[in-house]
């Protein structure tokens, strides 16, 4: 019958007008329920950043930019300032996705409007604490470095002494044949540099030492042969 559809529509709206009205969030008083992955505002964690620049390369819209300075001591790039120009941000997640240290992330803050254009830009300056921390880190690093160096030096000297004192026994660790050991000993005694190198290698990398020792011996033998020929 004509008009049935109209009545049905009226009935539907009638039913709904007595429903509990909980669909609309009364925004300023009541915050909307945001999902965990919601991408509100882009934020930056200065301490985590290693200034690799992947985010800047990934950004399609040139939102991100950073200023770096070369650290004189360690020759490393040092992040001085990081700028997020949110007005151009598309919230596409490409920067956050590829950040190796998770220093870029999205917050749930969605109230991004500002009165002035300049306020939209987010500039992160290098926090001074970070420099202090780094300096402290560096001195302690240096201390440990010198201590380690001293230790190495001592070991090396001990090894050289050992080779000088008792070449047959010590060099047997890298070479098998007695004849070869003798040849090597002769070579090392002749050349102090070679001796120091061999000693160092014997401490750090025995495999390499073996190879190098073998090479020394072969070379020496060849030279001797040559000498014999002449």
């Amino acid at each position: 019958m004509y008009g049935k559809g109209l009545l049905k529509g009226l009935w539907i709206t009638f039913k709904h007008s007595f429903e509990k009205k909980d669909l609309v969030v009364r925004y300023p008083e009541q915050m909307p329920h945001l999902q965990e992955r919601f991408r509100g505002s882009l934020a930056f964690d200065f301490e985590k950043c290693i200034a690799c620049g992947i985010c800047i390369r990934n950004c399609p819209n040139n939102v991100l930019s950073m200023e770096t300075a070369k650290d004189e001591d360690s020759k490393k790039k040092k992040l001085m300032q990081y700028t997020i120009d949110l007005q151009y941000c598309m919230f596409c997640n490409l920067c956050v996705e590829d950040c190796p240290t998770n220093s870029l992330y999205f917050t749930h803050d969605f109230e991004l409007s500002q009165f002035h254009r300049d306020d939209i830009k987010r500039v992160y300056h290098r926090p001074p604490e970070l420099d202090q921390q780094e300096a402290a880190q560096k001195t302690s690093d240096q201390d440990t470095q010198t201590a380690a160096d001293d230790k190495k030096e001592k070991q090396l000297r001990a090894m050289i002494n050992a080779i000088n004192k008792n070449p047959q026994k010590v060099l047997a660790r890298v070479l098998d044949g007695e004849e070869q050991v003798e040849v090597l000993a002769a070579v090392l005694m002749a050349d102090e540099k070679k001796l120091a190198r061999m000693a160092e290698m014997m401490i750090t990398d025995k495999e390499k030492a073996k190879k190098v020792a073998l090479a020394f011996v072969k070379k020496e033998l060849k030279e001797r042969e040559k000498g014999g020929d002449q």
Partner: protein, 366 residues
């Protein structure tokens, strides 16, 4: 005999029912439309030019902004085009999730269509009920990608993130409630006799015209032509799903509306199958950080977007940026028939025709 002058009336670009910046210059004779001229470009952002200065992965968020009502679909089309060109395989799980997201996008776009059609015809309340239900899809998108509308969730080689656990329950409950929602639309909108009078037999497009003018998508199927790219040239894993292609008979506004309403149900069927078959595994293949397709490679890849055939034509030159990227926007080409179907109708029919052609101007103007 009374003689009246013809006059021009401008519908848009600022007008309550033009879906963005659409401008229709209507030549009128009283209330009758003599001719309509469509002016586009009010939302032109030159995305094709932008693409030439962005790397392949960087273009994804821009693709999202083409059809902002169903943002997973244009990104899906773009990513698949690049993958096809580069020969990148996408992990199973990602393929399934892509289908789920794409079909949810289609549903959300069609819900907007139903709502905006209702409001364009004067039934304000119809929009609200559609938006209420679309909101649940938006919540799911927010859950998975973090963004509600412009998600940019697809990535070349997969998807951005795996879905959270809460997603499954939300998706299932939406699918469970869908029949009830559609009942409500049927009661409030479809069954309404006034609305039926407004769109039945209005804006009739013949099948020949539809093909000749390149109309695709639901608008083409409303003319009775069984052509759905998901069936005709399956992309992704669409050949694994069982679904019907709803068809109209007359090609009028009413058919266009009904076809979309039915498509919602079909999309729901696809999602259900995809959720059931969803495998575990990776969601993204390892793709080189810098994508460099070889010089001279080119591809035209098309998908069935909610508006019709969405195609990407990409030409590579060996660099990490596309040499040329062209978007074949269904809304753009579908709008071409607006004058044809509006001629001889009433002023109010133009509004109904715009609504049922369902253009999204971000896509048509690019």
């Amino acid at each position: 005999m009374l003689q009246t002058d013809q006059y021009i009336i401008n519908i848009g670009p600022q007008h309550p029912s033009t879906h963005g910046g659409l401008h229709v210059e209507a030549l009128m004779d009283g209330e009758n439309v003599v001719d309509a001229i469509v002016h586009l470009g009010y939302v032109h952002r030159s995305i094709e030019k932008i693409a030439e200065s962005r790397t392949y992965p960087q273009f994804v968020p821009y693709a999202s902004r083409l059809d902002y009502l169903a943002s997973h679909l244009p990104t899906l089309g773009y990513c698949q085009a690049v993958e096809k060109m580069m020969g990148i395989e996408v992990p199973e799980r990602a393929e399934y999730l892509r289908v789920i997201m794409a079909e949810f996008s289609r549903i959300s776009s069609h819900l907007i269509f139903i709502g905006s059609m209702a409001i364009d015809l004067g039934a304000t309340t119809g929009l609200i009920y559609c938006l209420r239900d679309r909101e649940r899809i938006m919540d799911m998108f927010e859950m998975t990608s973090g963004q509600r509308m412009i998600a940019s969730y697809m990535r070349i080689g997969g998807i951005a993130e795996d879905v959270p656990e809460t997603f499954y329950a939300a998706a299932r409950s939406f699918l469970d409630d869908l029949p009830q929602m559609i009942d409500e639309y049927n009661g409030l909108i479809t069954g309404n006799e006034i609305l039926q009078c407004r769109i039945k037999g209005v804006g009739t497009l013949s099948a020949e015209d539809a093909i000749a003018y390149g109309v695709t998508g639901p608008n083409l199927r409303a003319c009775g032509i069984d052509y759905d790219i998901r069936k005709a040239e399956p992309y992704g894993i669409y050949d694994r799903f069982e679904f019907d292609v709803p068809l109209g008979t007359k090609g009028d506004s009413w058919n266009r509306y009904i076809v979309r309403l039915e498509e919602i149900k079909e999309s729901a069927r696809i999602i259900e199958q995809a959720l059931d078959a969803l495998p575990q595994g990776d969601i993204r293949t390892k793709v080189p950080r810098v994508l460099k397709p070889e010089s001279g490679w080119e591809i035209y890849h098309r998908i069935e977007s909610s508006k019709g055939e969405l195609g990407y034509y990409i030409v590579a030159d060996g660099g990490n940026k596309p040499y040329r990227l062209h978007v074949r926007a269904p809304s753009f080409i579908n709008l071409m028939v607006l004058p044809i179907i509006s001629r001889g109708g009433k002023l109010q029919d133009i509004i109904a025709n715009i609504a049922t052609l369902d253009p999204v101007l971000g896509e048509s103007d690019r």
